[in-house]
């Protein structure tokens, strides 16, 4: 049971190292998918939107964690 719990915990931490970062990233991806499917937004614009959104989330989360830890 302990091993199964450890495997579960390992799998969770593989994808959720920072819960807020994970939630924001998923929100960006889902918003991009919604834009793509429900509006006529250009796919290239959506692709670069995902890239810029994820870069922003990464930078903001590491800087806020780093500055809070000082």
């Amino acid at each position: 049971m302990s091993l199964l719990r450890q495997i579960g915990s390992e799998l969770y931490s593989m994808f959720v190292s920072d819960a807020v970062m994970t939630a924001l990233t998923l929100a960006i991806v889902l918003a991009a998918a919604a834009l793509r499917h429900f509006t006529g937004t250009s796919p290239t614009l959506v692709g670069f939107g995902v890239l810029l959104g994820c870069l922003s989330v990464l930078i903001v989360r590491v800087l806020s964690y780093g500055l809070k830890s000082k």
Partner: protein, 242 residues
Amino acid sequence: MFNAHAITAISAAFLASTVEVTEAYTIVLAVGLTRGWRSAAAGTAAGLAILAFIVVAFGPMLSRLPLTALQFPIGVLLLLFGMGWLRKAILRSAGIIPLHDESAIFEQEFAELKDGGNRERIDSGGVLAAFQSVLLEGLEVVFIVIAVGVGRGLLIPAAVGAALACILVLAIGAVVHKPLSQVPENTLKFAVGVMLTSFGVYWIGEGLGVVWPGSDFALAYIAGAFLVSGLGSVALLRRSAA
């Protein structure tokens, strides 16, 4: 013969496997020195067998699905996984969280395992410690091999890349017989994080019908953007600490 996808997939599997096998090797070494090498080998073999089973069972099954059905979900998982590694590597490079110290982990594990057990025969505690270590560290490698390998027929090259890293680390370990503290784990983690996030964004885009300008070259400029952002974040955090 190899395009940007193949090179990135094989490199990511090789580098990630180097990081994870180095971490697992530290525990297996502690088990070998305290509870005997037969226990260490038995636990390692059992862990590797389960990991190989997962790759053999799920890899070909997923490979049969159409690429379009895989791109979006696997892209999302790769993005989340890669951003996690990149975040940790940035914070470690900036000195916000401590670097992974194989020597300290070895000392701790050695101290926990040295009392009790039996070196003369297979020791269940030692087998379990080696098994858990190989299985838990290997899960990440298995995910990377399957995620970057399926869909483009790269499962075998990615698995070979991971296996080569495993052989390389174990061969070095067999010679030096001490924790591999010299392996630049954080630099490797940084590189793998950049590769996997790039794969993730690229695949999510393709899954949403994006035709990336530059085709496969898009992987290079997406990776460049994550690399510059990561290094820039490290520089900013270091400057704010000074």
